[in-house]
Subunit: 227 residues, 4 copies
Amino acid sequence: MSGASEFGRAYDLMRAASGDTWRDYTRHDFVEGMKDGSLPRDCFLHYLRQDYVYLVHYSRAWALAVVKAATQEEMGAASATVDALVNHEMSLHIGICAAEGISTKELFDTPEAPENLAYTRYVMDAGFSGDYLNLLSALVPCAMGYAEIGTRLAAEATSDTYAEWINAYAGEDYQESCRVIGRLFDAAFEARLGKDYDKLPIWKTYCATFEKASRLEACFWQMGMEP
Amino acid sequence: MSGASEFGRAYDLMRAASGDTWRDYTRHDFVEGMKDGSLPRDCFLHYLRQDYVYLVHYSRAWALAVVKAATQEEMGAASATVDALVNHEMSLHIGICAAEGISTKELFDTPEAPENLAYTRYVMDAGFSGDYLNLLSALVPCAMGYAEIGTRLAAEATSDTYAEWINAYAGEDYQESCRVIGRLFDAAFEARLGKDYDKLPIWKTYCATFEKASRLEACFWQMGMEP
Amino acid sequence: MSGASEFGRAYDLMRAASGDTWRDYTRHDFVEGMKDGSLPRDCFLHYLRQDYVYLVHYSRAWALAVVKAATQEEMGAASATVDALVNHEMSLHIGICAAEGISTKELFDTPEAPENLAYTRYVMDAGFSGDYLNLLSALVPCAMGYAEIGTRLAAEATSDTYAEWINAYAGEDYQESCRVIGRLFDAAFEARLGKDYDKLPIWKTYCATFEKASRLEACFWQMGMEP
Amino acid sequence: MSGASEFGRAYDLMRAASGDTWRDYTRHDFVEGMKDGSLPRDCFLHYLRQDYVYLVHYSRAWALAVVKAATQEEMGAASATVDALVNHEMSLHIGICAAEGISTKELFDTPEAPENLAYTRYVMDAGFSGDYLNLLSALVPCAMGYAEIGTRLAAEATSDTYAEWINAYAGEDYQESCRVIGRLFDAAFEARLGKDYDKLPIWKTYCATFEKASRLEACFWQMGMEP
């Protein structure tokens, strides 16, 4: 795997295969607006509420990965992710929102925007209808994309308006969790499909799932722009 | 159940509880455009392609109802619906599209619009994550709404441009299939939750599922307007 | 695929890989007792009641295959199988049981033997937790094994006590349905994993699922011997 | 809820409704053999290996409860249970087995006994096919039954051969986790079906699930007696 990025070979290949979609997601106007601080506060808060509801379903999807895991290692990694999401990452949202006078119950009951619903339910169905690899292919764009955005914005930001958000995803804890997921992702492909997994017809299906999830990420940012 | 419409009491109650959402769905501009023939052909064809992909997932959802059924009658009714959808209703689309030069394979591979994805995956997840009643609550708005629209348009249409579509849903075969579903729906609630099922806290959850699916139907028509 | 049996290459390979387990299943004492008519009637009726409940879950599992299908062909074949099971194969059991004074409701409510429960729920979980290929790998031993047993017993039977059962599975309708499943099975592997699907690590997982389901078939016959 | 035991009202009602089945489970010969130390070591080790594999699926089932949860509280409690199982309870088994020279990998790969398979897959299917309440009804007999057995054996044991096992389940940590589950169970019923949930037709379905899981627990002990 020499030459693979720190998030692994399977991810690198899928990211490359998704072409402009990846760029549309990770360099969306919403992201650029966090970089230079021009993103209106109400857009950010709208996004944050929806992202909280997103995290509820994202956690459910990782719980489904526990259900579909094939080894003790896969179960352990997915369990730890569920725990980190439910008991830690959500608290970033709860904290920022609380400071704005939005309660936890209000957050949990936020009416879902159609873009949110489309994304989260697509991921759930990718898991229910497909296998563990298909579920992970739908989960990885969120995990890794935020890591990339966090790192880039930490380096390029010209405003500290959104520093709390940026630092959360640029931070070593989050970055390391993505490296773990990257290794899990590579190992899951190799253990099931061998070293040449990307030569099999089904690889295109997994890439399509990754690409669709990435496209739904871009739609999610767009939703944030329209509170 | 005296006073209930031909589609049953549970449906009547949910329809009433969904308020304006039901009206927004069943009297959408797209529908009114089929009534007077003003709907542009490319909007209709865009809708038809997406609706074909929709039917793929709608059939999958009815197959999931077979998985979740509790009696021989529930299994039989859901199986018959799957068969009718896969082997009959889809052919309406295939036929109209073939006449326009669109092949079956092209139809099956139509890239899904986000509105389509949001709706179909919401229904699947309502079934996977909930129970049989929750799944049916997500399926009924499509079935019954089309029956209502078909009947109304058959009476009110001032153009025969969309007569084939209108007659398919106004026709006795389709109407009878909805009466069967209506009886199935009522019986499923009573068998599990008793006669006063609409007094239980969980009734609100089922109504919310029905309302959300109806809202996603309106979004689907809107997508049709924007080919 | 030259050299493959009429039920296809994937099946042939899995059957060969399951070794003695396949023999224990298809040449179980219960089967031999149907061949020479020595099987006590109460054993057969005990089996038949349990097999009816088995068919309920077997039908649910084929409905899950509709949910997990990737093409129109896969959906159509699985839908047709569900319909054949719910509306036709079950009637063989209902007919024989009715002649013995056992009602349809009594059949549906038969308390499940642990061996029945183990087998049916294993198949369901193979589908829910795995993918379409894993689900089919759990379903094929029942379909094909009965076809083999039916053909052999039609040729070797020395008694006509169980001729109705034997003829149902030796009959051209049932045999043809298994040839269809065999082609579906081969095509599903090739479309996803390529021609050399049996060289991939995951092939062992699918073979293990097939072998486990075959072992549970043998346990099911054994249960029939102990009414 | 005055008069309810420390594990809650829903549990008390289901336990009472399951009649002799509960007694057969919690006072099985295997249990009595741990009490007086007469249980052969190889029976205990056979049980322990199978119980490890059981825990893999029991953890998967609790992960499915995260997927099916309806509130932040339900998600949090189920996530914590998954984490406790995967990262703590399993280590009791790993520790005892390691002392006997059985490795973790060997444990994970233990061939499942049919009784194990029947029980675990029944629980998974109760969750996949039913709702959150049905899933919990299948999970509670294991959790609460072990708590009862642990407490009784801690008081009545006449040998310390199995003291490590007894103390683990009699211990305050385990007992408290069951009180939490009991409150979760009661709250889940009331939030969905109201205070009189036990008067609804579906209550019988949930009781049947509880009773079936309890019966499968007794079968599991019996399997332990036959290494």
